[in-house]
């Protein structure tokens, strides 16, 4: 494990940039670390309310079936059971992430579409009674033919998983992205190459299982505590499915124990807890078992990516055609997003003048997939980055060189009109390659190898209607600062970084800033944690709110001491004028109080990335985000040719996340992302049984999250760019680094064994098979 280095690639040396800041760029301990380390942080599962009931969900044993009847009588009669509900009791209102792709009910109505689909719910005096009641619910199903692969699902005559005119052959969403002319591009190409890549599913597997507690009060107010990434969106979905107005619903996000995308959607635990609390008048708590929290929520989309690329003799990419099919499982969830994001991250980080992407999202009778760290990009980058190495080999080029030649740069005229205000990609290539020892180690064979993978990622996704965030900064009489933000900290440290931003902007010490977040009744609207947008969007809103209140204070102070408020500033708890300390902040606060201006002292901020209306997600060229992170990972591996086992010796990440507001936290994001990518590449696998679509890895025994002993040596190199969009130059750092781990490792394995595997995960068995095929081929050729 190496310390991250700061390497300036802007025109100013980094030391100079940092000089002016008091808390930005410093690895201050997180605001919530103390509570967490003494066990006092309160997660949803830790909350207990008076008179509370416990809820559980009955799930379908069929992959695809019509619900003929449900008899709840026996369950209702069990002592301690207070309520049993089924799809018949609820409003037939569909919900989902993207309005035009909504296809889910709070509980199944008429039909179940995967083993685990939500059929009924029970609320009882304790968990054991609720579990016992589930056994007493009698459901008659009429099983229907089911499909478990996208190939089968798209065949003519395949069972219709969702009926209706919008869906044909189970293709629920299709998308074509096109610019330039690929035909012309392929004609002009010196060399054309087509390969097919496959990626498998992955569970997000945050350590905290999904949980919710609903409390309905006679006044008509519903409060839901939920382990959610998007409190405001959950409020919206709850209100619409329950048939009440949003102002009657309050969603509070307690401390959340990890999300990675799997806590974006509303789940039956939210809906049913709310519904049953409204009916029983008692609080209802629901906590998913580990199996449910793995197999009845969301996962990463398995994919098939066909890539045809035409290159010039010197390695420049001229034309690219990509055919992407993702396995959506039983519901759409983020369907339009996964395929468009895959598309956007086919256009980054290389210059591709002519490109066509044909993408399909296909229903199958397996659990639904949704947003997961990198959301579509890991699939796309695994394919394209693998093919970059293949193309380099075809052309007799160095795999680093072909990437350098094609790398996008800041200010470039992007073929799809993306705007790259800052871009440290080229630097990341060189830094990662150097750190892994590219020149000395590449191409040496002998079952040891190095490989590269690169990508970029969005700092929040804007090209899909209004995605913004608000913030309020309150100055307390005693000089303390309270920030209200809708941002949802799910463990990534959002609250802490927002506190740093406010402290810096307002010029007060970090310890004075308190953040109150993610309570829809108290905090301003925010679009929540997804697409790595929190620091840029909510952080910027908080910065603007701090700036607003700073201006108010300085106006009063200027009146008092004379001079132009523009020439005043606040730093390190003092008011400064022309480089001179003038008064401490507490005195300034007092002045404001005696100035008879409005109290409370509040600053307001709102930030929204430029967006078009209506949603342009599936159509226009253009920008999907205000800024993009870039990075390269380099992996060094060793393969045991006898067992096929892979040892990951080292992974270097050179990452342009703009300015690192908290370098330790940025490093932590990267290190965690790498392990998630490593697990997916090597041994994490839901392992679907193709006879009925069930995932076989349903526990932490069988689903193999990497352990501490599986952690390789990691080096993280920060490439500091000063992006003009984000607060203090920050860009995203939460997801990008997981996107290119698979290609880095796979390219390194290829370098080590001289043969390539195009489908994930890379099991020892596949390596042995690949080696055998290579040897057989070698023998034949000899």
């Amino acid at each position: 494990m190496q310390r991250g280095k700061v390497t300036g690639v802007t025109d100013k040396p980094s030391e100079e940039i940092m000089e002016g800041y008091s808390v930005i760029g410093k690895s201050v301990p997180r605001t919530d670390a103390w509570d967490k380390v003494i066990g006092r942080a309160v997660y949803t599962e830790d909350i207990k309310l008076p008179n509370m009931l416990y809820g559980k969900i009955l799930r379908s044993p069929h992959a695809h079936a019509r619900i003929v009847s449900i008899n709840t009588e026996k369950a209702e009669k069990l002592p301690g059971v207070k309520m049993v509900m089924t799809g018949k009791d609820i409003l037939p209102v569909k919900y989902g992430i993207v309005p035009f792709a909504q296809d889910e009910y709070g509980l199944a109505i008429d039909k179940v579409r995967y083993v685990g689909d939500d059929v009924a719910a029970v609320a009882a005096v304790d968990e054991a009674t609720a579990a016992e009641a589930l056994e007493l619910i009698e459901v008659v199903y009429e099983p229907l033919p089911a499909v478990f692969t996208v190939e089968d699902a798209m065949k003519d005559g395949a069972p219709e998983i969702h009926e209706g005119p919008k869906v044909k052959n189970n293709v629920s969403i299709q998308y074509r992205k096109e610019f330039g002319s690929i035909d012309k591009g392929f004609e002009e190409s010196f060399h054309i190459r087509e390969d097919v890549f496959k990626t498998h599913g992955q569970y997000h597997a945050p350590l905290e299982p999904h949980a919710a507690i609903a409390m309905y009060e006679p006044s008509g107010k519903l409060t839901l505590w939920s382990s959610t990434q998007i409190p405001f969106f959950l409020r919206h979905n709850l209100a619409s499915t329950l048939g009440i107005t949003e102002d009657r619903v309050r969603v509070i996000k307690p401390v959340v124990g990890g999300g990675f995308g799997v806590k974006i959607d509303m789940f039956s635990k939210d809906f049913c807890a709310a519904f049953m609390s409204m009916k029983t008048g008692r609080p209802v708590k629901m906590v998913y078992d580990r199996e449910e929290a793995l197999t009845c929520v969301r996962g990463r989309h398995p994919s098939i990516v066909k890539v045809r690329t035409g290159v010039a003799k010197d390695g420049r990419i001229i034309s690219q055609y990509i055919d992407l099919t993702v396995d959506g499982g039983a519901y759409n969830s983020t369907a339009p997003l996964i395929i468009t994001l895959s598309g956007y991250f086919a256009m980054i980080p290389y210059n591709i003048p002519n490109l066509v992407l044909d993408a399909k999202h296909v229903y199958t009778n397996k659990y639904a997939n949704g947003a997961m760290r990198g959301h579509g990009a890991p699939q796309m980058r695994f394919a394209v980055e693998s093919q970059m190495d293949i193309l380099a080999a075809d052309l007799g080029m160095d795999a680093l060189e072909i990437r350098r030649i094609n790398a996008l740069e800041a200010g470039c005229d992007h073929p799809a009109k993306m705007i790259l205000r800052s871009c440290g990609f080229k630097e990341s290539l060189d830094l990662a390659a150097n750190a892994i020892g590219w020149k000395e180690k590449r191409g040496k064979g002998n079952f040891r190898g190095v490989g590269l993978g690169g990508s970029g990622w969005a700092s929040g996704v804007n090209n899909m209607s209004h995605i913004g965030g608000g913030a309020v900064v309150k100055l307390e009489k005693t000089g303390g600062v309270t920030v209200l933000t809708g941002a949802a900290d799910i463990g990534q440290g959002a609250e802490s970084v927002i506190a740093q931003i406010v402290a810096e902007e307002l010029g007060v010490s970090f310890a004075k800033v308190r953040v109150i977040a993610a309570d829809t009744d108290v905090c301003p609207l925010d679009s929540g944690t997804f697409g790595s947008g929190v620091t840029v969007r909510s952080g910027k809103a908080a910065q603007l709110a701090a700036r607003d209140i700073k201006k108010q204070i300085l106006t009063v102070v200027a009146k008092n001491i004379g001079g132009d408020p523009e020439h005043l500033t606040i730093k390190d708890d003092y008011i400064w004028q022309n480089g001179q300390k003038k008064m401490d902040i507490n005195k300034a606060v007092k002045l404001v109080q005696y100035a008879d201006i409005q109290v409370p002292m509040i600053g307001r901020g709102y930030y929204q990335l430029p967006a078009k209306e209506p949603t342009t997600l599936l159509r226009d060229n253009g920008d999907i985000s205000g800024s993009y992170s870039f990075g390269t990972q380099a992996a060094e591996v060793e393969v045991d040719p006898k067992s096929g086992r892979v040892k990951i010796i080292k992974i270097v990440t050179a990452d342009d996340a703009g300015r690192a507001l908290n370098p330790d936290q940025v490093e932590g994001q990267v290190e965690g992302a790498v392990m998630t990518g490593l697990g997916h590449t090597l041994f994490e696998d839901p392992d679907f049984d193709m006879t009925n679509g069930q995932a076989r890895s349903t526990s932490f025994t069988d689903y193999k999250l990497p352990t501490a002993l599986d952690a390789p040596d990691q080096e993280v190199i920060h490439i500091e760019t000063d992006d003009p969009v984000g607060p203090f130059g920050a860009k995203e750092c939460g997801e990008g680094a997981t996107i290119y781990t698979a290609p880095a490792i796979v390219n390194a394995i290829t370098d080590a064994i001289g043969v390539r595997i195009n489908d994930l995960p890379i099991t020892p068995e596949k390596i042995l098979r690949a080696l055998e095929e290579k040897n057989n081929k070698g023998r034949k050729e000899a």
Binding site: V37, I38, K48, G257, G258, D664, F700, L705, A708, A711
Partner: protein, 156 residues
């Protein structure tokens, strides 16, 4: 059948007299009956380490232990580690200072496993640290900062 019984559990030095059913796990009783919610339920099947507590100084999965079987033993949870006056234990301090905490859900178990490791081996090598923590899953950190925190506190 399973009759409830009154038992005394010694948690963090205090005796608690409580009524339990034999089938209640130590985890359930710590969290639900006694309110020691710092001990987390990550999998409830003995595979993630989030519920690690010390029972007679042994790192123990509370989810795989019956409460009735913990009678007469000294149970220490994360709540019992910091000083009475609120000062953090050096391990806790090191976790905070070294960025070893993200979502925090694995943290209490991770800290208890670290305590157990350092109690039996005050100067562990990096490999021994990894071994000592290999029963505690973390999805956020990639373990790097946690290992760093343990190294830092071991070095004193």
């Amino acid at each position: 059948m399973a009759t409830k019984q009154i038992i005394v559990l010694n948690v963090n030095g205090d005796d608690h007299e409580i009524l339990v059913k034999p089938q209640q796990t130590l985890l359930e009783v710590l969290r639900e009956t006694l309110g020691f919610t710092g001990t987390k339920q990550g999998c409830n099947e003995g595979s993630c380490g989030a519920c690690t507590v010390l029972v007679n100084n042994k790192p123990t999965l509370a989810c795989s232990t019956l409460a009735v079987a913990a009678v007469g033993k000294e149970i220490m949870t994360i709540e019992g580690l910091a000083g009475q006056d609120g000062t953090l234990h050096p391990i806790q301090k090191s976790f905070v200072e070294n960025g070893a905490i993200q979502c925090g859900f694995c943290t209490p178990g991770m800290v208890m496993s670290t305590k157990s490791l350092l109690d039996r081996n005050p100067n562990p090598s990096e490999e021994e640290i990894k071994e000592g923590l290999s029963g505690n899953l973390c999805r956020c950190t990639g373990y790097a900062k946690i290992i760093k925190a343990v190294k830092a506190v071991a070095a004193g």
